[in-house]
Amino acid sequence: MDNSSFISRARKKVKEGLSVDDLIRKLIAFSDSLEKGENTIFEQLNDLYFLYYPEAADKLKERDSFIKILKESCDRKSVSEKTEVSAESMGYDFEEEDIQLLSLSINEISNIADLRKIVNDRLHDIVKKNYPNLTAVLGAEIAARAIYLAGSAYSLMLMPSSKIQVLGAEKAMFAARKKKATPKYGVIYNHELMISVPDNLKGKTAKIIAAYSSLAAKTDVLSKEDKSGKIMEKMLKDINKAREKNGT
């Protein structure tokens, strides 16, 4: 018996089964590992730079400022002008080759940072285009992450909103099996509305946002219409109501 009919059927199934959600998932994973790599390289590089110019390296513990200041040139003279650290250093004097190596590495890490930005922008575009309602409620970044954690937009849609609320807090959720309180929020914690809300309302706000993102996910997957205006209006009304009740 020949298996070619099985192969063509299976090939078709795979082709149909892959969707934009898979792209979203992969891009998130890619962006995460880029960030991770960026951080590790930065740490090592900062450490290396510390040997040459400890006074400046100590001041440039932030990744972005480190890259920004050292990108053009990283010898003591030009760095000391930019950072107002004295050019007199107790560090080890590098040879020209070593300094070149340093600037080459800093260029690389800056390239990675640029790439990550491009990946993120593209990711946000994709999410916004395909899931307008969910993006309106959660913001592109969190919407993408919610889809990533749920596996697909379809399974996100099937989830009860209480589960959406704690997406990304699986560890705390499992800890809650052994005493301990259940978590109030997962990835939703980074939502822009959560920042302005007082601490005692954070749980409630997370609940409201989760409820509306469940609604938005259903709208996106099932009707594919953009009703984000209406949904947002209702959500903000609910949140304001909760705030008024709280007296803030």
């Binding site: 018996m1 020949d2 298996n3 009919s5 099985f6 192969i7 059927r9 299976a10 090939r11 199934k13 795979v14 089964g17 892959l18 898979d22 099996r177």
Partner: protein, 223 residues
């Protein structure tokens, strides 16, 4: 190097340490990075216990199951085809292994493998719904399941009812952690075997530690 037969087309290869190998039915290509040995002009592929639950059962003392040349095998949870490739070795070019996998990305490697090994019949479908593929899968001589789902026992019984000939063997990899995380693993296996007893005789139960964590392999015979 010395070969010792375990069962048809499966051997222990003694060379410093013992290695489980299958006699390759399709050339000398390595499928997933396993070692390939050439003994007296015949090609043997290493069967790695850490990669395949079936292989680890042999390392844990299994000395043969009813699977041989020209058998039809239904394999649920084929993944990327690691174990499937060895099953395909054992049943030979005249056998048929129907490999069911639901995850598209995993299925891609399985499909590519089946293009090389023409006795693998890939099916991209949900093993929970055997009626989806019952139209084109015949009655089988062996049912192998490794799906790591909470309802894996029900999946196994459903498929065995539809596809397994009576008196034939079913091999069932129980992942205790996917059935219940908090329960004692031995308790889980006991519960599952209780469900299976109605329709199967339990031939053997093999704990796969240390090759696979929290896994047991049940060898069952359909009544």
């Amino acid at each position: 190097m010395e070969l010792k037969r375990v069962m048809d087309r499966v051997y222990w290869l003694f060379d410093k340490r013992r290695t489980l190998v299958t006699l390759s039915a399709y050339g000398s290509n390595s499928v997933y990075g396993e070692k390939v040995f050439n003994v007296d002009g015949k090609i043997y592929r290493e069967w790695i216990p850490y990669r395949s639950k079936f292989a680890s059962a042999f390392y844990k003392g299994l000395n043969g199951v009813d699977i041989r040349d020209s058998y039809k095998v239904l394999y649920l949870g084929a993944s990327s085809g690691t174990t499937v490739s060895h099953v395909s070795d054992i049943i030979g070019v005249t056998g048929q292994v129907y490999a069911v996998e639901i995850a598209e990305e995993m299925a891609v490697s399985l499909i590519l493998l089946s293009e090389e090994r023409r006795n693998i019949f890939p099916i991209v479908d949900d093993a929970r719904k055997p009626e989806n593929y019952s139209d084109y899968v015949p009655k089988c001589d062996l049912l192998y399941q490794d799906v790591a789902q909470r309802d894996q026992t029900e999946i196994f019984i459903k498929n065995a009812e539809l596809f397994l000939k009576s008196g034939k063997i079913g091999i069932f990899a129980v992942k205790t952690r996917s059935i219940d995380v908090s329960m004692d693993p031995r308790e889980v296996v006991r519960n599952e075997t209780r469900k299976l007893r109605e329709k199967f005789d339990i031939v053997r139960e093999i704990n796969l530690y240390p090759y696979q964590k929290d896994h047991s392999l049940l060898i069952l015979r359909k009544k």
